[in-house]
């Protein structure tokens, strides 16, 4: 197996940490241990600098102005599109649509593609481990179009039941929309197999990459997915900017999502013609500053080496799993063979919220609750879990503090 040392001898966590100013913060008097990365990651100084640089030096509205500032702002905004294209392995830059986040990206597909391609009795297949953002938009459009939402069951180990998936697929299936990496369990789903099977019955495939983009190498072309969605803020970038990737042939024939400026070619009161890709889907003045800064985040990840980050995070996951299993009564949810950076657990006789409060008092930030995956929590018969999720800057010492913190919480609560 490849180890961190062979992959990237230069990968040094303490140097990395110094790039993230917030990590110097204290929480309740103790050095912050930030383990809520699946909710949002912290931002390196280069991202903060990029935001300040944009507003200090070349803030202007893009695409329309003829002055120098507008040209500079447009160039910076569009260069992020090129960076995203390379980051996720897309073939064309116009296949990258900027949105507010993964949620908006999925909604865009539901309300444009869905509204024009779904009919009565058509089926959409999602999984039992979806985030609410990959459930609710489909429920809404299914209700509107009298289509049917079907759910791939999840096994006890927190993996997709692939036999059940193949049985659910049929000629009625129009779309398979599945999460790449589960935010609640950390499960890495076999997306290639899901996409190929979807295509075999003539369905399209949408992959929710909100959790995967920060941890895994993404290659949308190799995967052959039709849509891929992710959020910038979970990849060390700013909040408020996300991406929808779509195959050009599909995006071309979909109707626009929102109407307004930027997305038009010609407007008369009689008829409006729409702009070409990707602008057709980017109505109004976009989130220029955050989009510009997203590039710095992605460049930072690439320069650090995604492979090295993945190896480091795997080490943390295995180390943390081994430690937490020693806590009496603790049960880890999600025992998939392939996992990414998420340790979700429950403790006998203790409510997750109590653990979260006591960890917070020890300077440790975790997430407690249902993680916007209520159906999955119901599946496992728990009201919620405590979730620790890791990023490139976390250390084994921090996992030690998590272990000590959880042990202390258990002692206090039982």
């Amino acid at each position: 197996m490849e180890t961190l040392a062979t992959l990237s001898p230069a990968f040094d966590v303490s140097t990395l940490r110094s790039a993230f100013p917030i990590l110097e913060r204290k929480l309740n008097g103790k050095p912050l241990v930030y383990l809520d990365n699946a909710a949002t990651s912290q931002k390196p100084q280069v991202v903060l600098d990029a935001l300040l640089d944009y507003y200090s030096n070349f803030n202007a509205n893009i695409h329309r102005g003829i002055h120098t500032l507008a040209e500079e702002a447009t160039a910076a905004y569009e260069s992020t599109r090129d960076t995203v294209k390379d980051f996720i392995g897309a073939a064309r830059r116009e296949e990258i649509i900027f949105t507010r986040g993964a949620t908006e990206a999925i909604n865009l597909v539901a309300f444009t593609w869905g509204r024009t391609h779904l009919g009565k009795g058509d089926e959409i297949l999602i999984s039992g481990m979806e985030h609410h953002s990959n459930i609710v938009p489909w429920q809404m459009i299914c209700e509107e179009k009298k289509a049917v939402l079907k759910v791939i069951p999840v096994t006890d180990s927190g993996e997709l039941d692939m036999d059940a998936f193949h049985k659910l697929l049929s000629a009625r299936t129009k779309l398979v929309a599945v999460v790449h990496v589960s935010n609640s369990l950390g499960t890495v789903n076999p997306v290639k197999a899901l996409i190929d099977a979807a295509h075999a019955v003539g369905a399209l495939a949408l992959i929710d990459g909100a959790q995967s983009t920060v941890h895994l190498d993404i290659d949308v072309t190799g995967m052959d997915c039709d849509f891929f969605a992710f959020s910038g803020h979970k990849v060390y970038g700013p909040t408020g900017v996300g991406v929808l990737y779509g195959k050009k042939s599909i995006l071309d024939e979909m109707p626009p999502f929102m109407g307004g400026g930027e997305m038009i070619k010609e407007v008369t009161f009689g008829k409006t013609t729409y702009n070409e890709l990707p602008y057709k889907y980017e109505a109004g003045t976009p989130n220029i500053a955050d989009t510009v800064a997203l590039r710095s985040a992605l460049d930072f990840v690439t320069a650090t080496s995604k492979k090295a980050i993945r190896a480091h995070e795997n080490e943390l996951l295995q180390y943390g799993t081994g430690l937490l299993e020693q806590v009496p009564g603790l049960r880890i949810l999600g025992r998939a063979k392939e996992k990414a950076s998420v340790l979700s657990f429950v403790i006998d006789g203790i409510h997750p919220q109590d653990v979260g409060v006591l960890l917070d008092n020890q300077g440790i930030a975790v997430r407690t609750g249902h993680h916007c995956t209520q159906p999955l929590m119901d599946r496992f018969g728990v009201p919620g879990t405590v979730r620790a999720s890791f990023a490139m800057y976390n250390t084994k010492e921090e996992i030690d503090r998590l272990f000590a913190g959880v042990s202390k919480a258990v002692k206090m609560l039982l």
Binding site: N28, I350, H351, P352, Q353, D354, V357, L358, N361, T368, G369, P383, G384, M412, L413
Partner: protein, 149 residues
């Protein structure tokens, strides 16, 4: 008739208890202990209509009006929340509706538990207080509250 302590008197007792604690651990151990000692709500009351919405944990609250005073019972499946509930009940149960409605409940800030009132905590303390006062309002003025209930 024996004197019933006022809300403020009861609050001051709690504040005095907390003044003995030096560390967060002592404070929380006390709250956890209160939570464990709070008598569990009878199963018949643990129904959907008694659940306070907006809590990450489940919180049940029931109220009864006797001789001009409101008596509360509550429970939760999270013990820290239950400890906080226990303090609220100690302060407010058996008081007159108008006093409950007007109580600023300063003791929460005075014992350093204000962060539990933050909306983002979604632990429902705020929702709980709102519901407690809602009951008080309902008992104080049945007709008025019917319009808002």
């Amino acid at each position: 008739m024996s004197q019933i302590q006022t809300i403020r008197e009861r609050e001051q007792e709690i504040v005095e208890d907390f003044s003995l604690f030096d560390t967060w651990e002592e404070k929380y151990e006390y709250i956890i202990d209160l939570g464990k000692k709070l008598p569990p709500l009878e199963e018949q009351f643990k129904k959907e209509e008694n659940i306070i919405k907006g809590c990450q944990s489940t919180v049940w609250l029931v109220a009864e009006y006797r001789d001009g005073r409101v008596y509360y019972q509550a429970d939760s499946n999270a013990v820290i929340v239950k400890g906080i509930i226990s303090m609220l009940i100690r302060v407010l149960s058996g008081q007159r509706p108008e006093d409950i409605l007007e109580a600023p409940l300063d003791f929460i800030r005075e014992i350093g538990m204000m962060n539990h009132l933050a909306q983002t905590r979604s632990n429902g303390l705020l929702a709980m207080i709102k519901q407690i006062k809602h009951y008080a309002l309902a008992f104080k003025n049945p007709y008025e509250s019917e319009k808002t209930l």
